[in-house]
């Protein structure tokens, strides 16, 4: 069972990674990179590494996303425009 779950989530991770690279919208790319981390943490559980899974869930998808968003907000403030997410 766990092999199938890993396979499905692995394929989803690859799709999300390609999407994160090619998306025109930076906010969407950040969301996709958060999804990669969330899926990775499930795979870590199935690979018998719960400590790593917990760290990845907490840091990879929570704080990293927030740090990206804060940086993006600063850049938008400097740019002075209202469009927050267009790929420049």
């Amino acid at each position: 069972m766990s092999v199938y779950i890993i396979a499905v989530f692995g394929v989803l991770m690859v799709f999300a990674a390609v999407y994160a690279i090619y998306s025109r919208n930076i906010l969407s790319a950040i969301i996709a990179s958060g999804v990669i981390s969330l899926l990775a943490s499930i795979i870590y559980i199935l690979l018998a590494a719960p400590d790593v899974a917990m760290t990845e869930a907490a840091i990879g998808s929570g704080l990293t996303t927030v740090v990206f968003l804060l940086a993006l907000k600063r850049i938008n403030r400097l740019r002075g425009t209202e469009e927050e997410d267009v790929d420049a």
């Binding site: 990674a17 690979l47 400590d51 990293t64 940086a71």
Partner: protein, 117 residues
């Protein structure tokens, strides 16, 4: 050849491709974090032994047979610290990106020509 390593390598290659071809600074940093995740996945899945369980001894694992029932704890420990450092590095890189944007009002890597020769 295990599934985890294959996925990890695929992520590393996608991340490298993204870092090399994208020109937006934030996209490059996202590519970096994808590489990061891929490397962690590879290391953890190298430490995994099929059919064994997590290296935490409680009711489900017999202490005397621990050497035969648990997976390798060392890769977990390494990856755990690497993830925390990855966050700090990402924050630092983003801070630099903000600083670079302040200088040139652009996130496009092509606009930074000072180091080209």
């Amino acid at each position: 050849m295990t599934l985890g390593t294959v996925i990890g390598f695929a992520l590393i290659l996608i991340g490298v491709w993204g870092m090399l071809t994208r020109s937006n600074l934030i996209k490059i940093i996202i590519g970096f974090s994808i590489i990061d995740t891929g490397i962690h996945l590879v290391i953890v899945s190298i430490g995994y032994l099929p059919g064994r369980t997590a290296p935490i001894i409680d009711g489900a694992v017999d202490k005397a047979r621990a050497g035969l029932e648990v997976v390798d704890p060392i890769p977990s420990a390494l990856v755990l610290t690497a993830i925390v450092i990855g966050l700090a590095i990402t924050a630092l890189m983003l801070t630099y990106a903000v600083g670079m944007f302040r200088e040139k009002k652009s996130l496009n890597i092509g606009d930074y020509k000072e180091l080209k020769w």
